[in-house]
Amino acid sequence: MGEFNVHRVRFFNYVPSGIRCVAYNNQSNRLAVSRTDGTVEIYNLSANYFQEKFFPGHESRATEALCWAKGQRLFSAGLNGEIIEYDLQALTIKYAVDAFGGPIWSMATSPNGSQLLVGCEDGSVKLFQITPDKIQFERNFDRQKSRILSLSWHPAGTHVAAGSIDYISVFDSKSGSAIGKMLVDRQYMGVSKRKCIIWGVAFLSDGTVISVDSAGKVQIWDSATGTLVKNHLVSNADVQSIAVSAQEDSFVVGTAEGTVFHFQLVSVTSSSSEKQWVRTKPFQHHTHDVRAVAHSPTALISGGTDTHLVIRPLMEKVEVKNYDAALRKITFPHRRLVSCAKKKQLLLFQFAHHLELWRLGSTVATGKNGDTLPLSKNADHLLHLKTKGPENIICSCISPCGGWIACSTASRFFLYRLNYEHDNISLQRVSKMPVFLRSALQILFSEDSTKLFVASNQGSLRVFRLLEGGFTHLHSFQPQSGTVQSMCLLAVSPDGNWLAASGTSAGVHVYSVKQLKLHCTVPAYNFPVTALAIAPNTNNLVIAHSDQQVFEYSIPDKQYTEWSRTVQKQGFHHLWLQRDTPITHISFHPKRPMHILLHDTYMFCLIDKSLPLPNDKTLLYNPLPPTNESDVIRRRTAHAFKISKKYKPLLFVDLLDEKTLVAVERPLDDIIAQLPPPIKKKKFGT
């Protein structure tokens, strides 16, 4: 396969933000996750936990609560006092409504999904009616004396439990009057703490209320009599979150020490019908506060300040070994944050509020496999581009020639012209943006940097011609009538004739840039597309899906290629299908048309289509073959998938030229180093 010089880049100082809320939707098997910077991500648990949608964050919009309502509608509320509904089709914010109760700390949808309850800073609990296109304020519940930090509906919708500071109130949801109050003990290990904050409550259908609080207690109450039934002291620090399974036979709590405890309703003895909540399993997958937990039918989901989303399957609920049976730890976004100008050897890194442009170094030395070469020139940080405003950057791109940089936030689109004079760079913002170009979901430059493709909300794809110092709008591909499907992934052919675009769920559309019309649509596939690319010369479209399948589709012939059919007939290697991160980038060898480069977080792979495919008996991850073996054996054991796991976690891999690779790594240790210190726990012997 050959030797490559690999630029091993670790200076992309990306730190994901901490997870604040998670909300699981049982009907669609989707998980909504909100982060501390206001970003909301939607994971499709049926599609191999792929992060299929995201809403960019906003500095002033710290979400404190996230919930699903009837008809797959998603709401969030936060400390700016607003309730926000998200448009899951157009990937925008539908509207924001001020609840006029100060910062909102908690929110809950009624069991039938038609009402929304928010708990505010001023102690008010406000009921909103969810109408088909908006929400409408209906009533205030009895005002409490301090902020409402947690809310839970009775599964019948008749009562509501609200956790405040030092006590839990029970409301009648019809009248809105407080009918019960349960005082929580402030004492913590015999010492009276100042306040006891009820971080979470859960109302069960038999009238039991479970509360978790800042004193490390999980308490089980009888709401009818207002008495404490059972007290579990689980932690020395706060217990911050709780989620109950739909069957109400188990629940999960997350603590500030990073531990997640599973509680189950277990018979007292094997024969009796009397059941008791028992703390069954502790899990320590987090180092920091577990701010949010969710309970799907088969798994416990937790997330927190350490930015990992952890999905821990309940093994007794899992029958077959498949994707669902493995522990998942999702740390990095399933989209590309790095773009590359190959000719100039430039890398553009996208952060939440700024872009960084780096130039790779160079070397004159050569070496053999495994060597680190001495640098003749180190990598340069060329540019630090900060966007104005509170909004996060959605997407960014650098043109292949390195002369243009484009990026977009939710309301503004930026295009910059770069001029290089020896070591000096001048940057010039292109003004006179057309009114219709306000935000983009994906930006792409053509190979010769003369065209700019922008996928905007509402499903339209716009084509611009770039001129020195300006640009003109050429055409706009409108979505088929009736569909509002945002395009999230774009790919353009190197000759500039074809543009492929894929949405969140529909198939891949291929447009002819010359004739400015839809050329064909790739047959729909059940799993979302994670990466797209068009090969040079052949114009084959390579598509990676979240179930780890890779297809090759010939655009001129409008059909799958022979190779793709062979792969489908034989099937991928089982280890290939068991990888748990999606392929986020595909590119091609500039000289060898048979080679495809693709990567996920833990490996990159060069597929040589001329070699035989591996079957389940062959070794997929080929270690180095012993050098003393003859060429014959080497040739016999060689297969099409050349995989390297040397660099991980990988955020980006691309071929700069036929002998040079660039790999952007982000070691987890570097991320942890930038997180706030975790709660110190006494360890034996320290």
Binding site: M1, G2, E3, F4, N5, V6, H7, R8, V9, R10, F11, D249, Q264, V266, S267, S270, V278, T280, M315, E316, E319, V320, K321, A325, G361, S362, T363, T366, G367, K368, N369, G370, D371, T372, L373, L375, N378, A379, H574, L606, D616, K617, N622, L624, P625, R634, A638, K642, S644, K646, L661, P667, D669
Partner: protein
Amino acid sequence: MADLEEGFTLTAVPLGSGPDGPLGVEQSDKTDQFLVTDSGRTVILYKVSDQKPLGSWSVKQGQIITCPAVCNFQTGEYIVVHDNKVLRIWNNEDVNLDKVFKATLSAEVYRIHSIQGTEPLVLFKEGAVRGLEALLAEPQQKIETVISDEEVIKWTKFFMVFRHPVLIFITEKHGNYFAYVQKFNSRILSKYTLLLGQEEKCVIQSFSTSVGQKFISLMSLSSDGCVYETLIPIHPSEPEKNQRLVQSQLLKSVVSGSAQSGAALSILDQDHIAVLGAPRPASKECLSVWNTKFQTLQTSKELPQGTSGQLWYYGENLFMLHGKFLTVIPYKCEVSSLAGALGKLKHSQDPGTHVTPHFVNWETSQGCELGSQNSEQSKRILRRRKIQVSVQPEVPASTQLLATIQKDSEKHIEVELRKFLATKRTPDFHTVIGDVVIGLLGRCKAEPSFYPRNCLIQLVQTHVLSYSLCPGLMEVALEKTDVQILQLCLQQLPDIPESVTCACLKVFLSIGDDTLQDADINMESVSDYMDPVQDGKMEEQTTFLQNGFNPEEDNCDSCAQKLKEKPQATADESTSCPLTPKRAALLNAILRSAYSETFLLPHLKDIPAQHSTLFLQYLYFLYLKCSENATMTLPGTHPPTLNQIMDWICLLLDANFTVVVMIPEAKRLLLSLYKFVKSQISICSELNKIEVSFRELQKLNQEKNNRELYSIEVLELF
């Protein structure tokens, strides 16, 4: 091996039938429930495991049931025909057969067939076949005649072949037999003439069929007492043509040649058939199971009160008339293989499947099936086990056994227990065993002379007991100083309290050598490092190294000097065991049992000083044995590990130090231990130093690799 179990009568009252026996026994839609139609007017639904009727229905006086009642598996209703043409359909709630659904047909019905998975079929005496639905839609429809005049249907069966229903019926005309095979997927009726192999005309008495890959195997029991097999192709080459089929003899003289009325045949499985009839002309009638592959008689059961020549086989039960009672005999055939007989089960694991560990489910307490299993396999086992549970008879063997324990003699209990242990294990096996032990111990307490030693040994060896299941067991054994049971318990029970462990230790140390001589103790833990005959002097050891550390080097105090003065004695002490092998084996069992230090220490203080010294000497001896080889292990099967030995030395010293220090004979021992500890400490500190230096080196190396933000490396992809 095929086996007929003890039968039981189904009806307490004799059937109101004549000598003909019942008209038929048919399965109902619930397992274990069967419809019995007598040849008069009554249909009774029986639950076989309960041996009691669940329902009974009769037709009016003057009417007569002409065809056995069947259950429609698709609707759960029952169907019967009386007076040849009148069809009745009812269900469990109906009381009076007169008031239920009635349909009068235009032709006489021979049989109604119903099997799982398809709609019932009605076979008319003229050979025509109709589906029940089609028939009920138009009851008076014209029924064609298929078979010729004077041809009489003798026997019929309905079954599924590759998910398609197939009906076969045999007719007779002037001593010639014809087989008709009606396939419903293709609506083809094939007719075959059965050519009897023998010259003289024989009357065929009974038929049975089984379905193979390509052929339906039709077996017939002829009046000459032989069993013949005829293979009928499932996919005939020329279905329209009348074809001839030749019978081949399968078994000879299974029943007596002189034609008797009562002879019947039923295929049990691939290789086994059941034959009902008298084996010799004069003898009583028998139910016998034959293996057709090896042509051997597997088992037989005499039916002294005579039978009717009818035999039905459903599930695992054989139904027949015995005297005037309908009798059920369960039949079982466990697959035997050479590997099974040798105790080795075949382990065929597909390369694609993965072993997944078994997870304890808190919600369903499913017995204690630990160990790793193929996930798919375990699911299947679970399902099978569920079925077993449901089929289990109401009075379990365990309650019978418990009753036996209360009154019978020791010998008899032992026999019963062996029988019980030989049966299949149910999910609650361990609790049953616990109950049995408690029952036995209860009787022990009541009758001081009663001590079922062998039973207890057997029970402990089932590997399912735990201390908490039978708390009294070890107390009783301690009382009787039964060291063999104590040793077994220590080896098998996982949760022995420390006080009991300590009590065992005391017994083991104090018991007299002569009593030990007679005890039957498992010696495998000591056999390899101790000669059974102690000659006291073993070959002298030259300077041995403790963990590679030479004690000579360290200049100990004057006591050490004293030690050096008598090197001969030291060597003796270090290599010869201070105990008899039997006692050592018992102590090894103690060493290997689980304990918690905090709970053990207070009890250890009660051990007399002499005994603790003895035990220490033994432990020290074990340690020296350990250090003889590089891996620091003792030879043999299940020896105590080095860690266990060291822990016990520490524990004993902790508990009894002040006492042991005062005993002169322990002095030398303590000194050697002291020296040993000292050498260990110096080794450990050296090792620590090395470890820390290595870790520093590693850290330096890592930093070099990881701290660099940017590098260009060479990578070769193969």
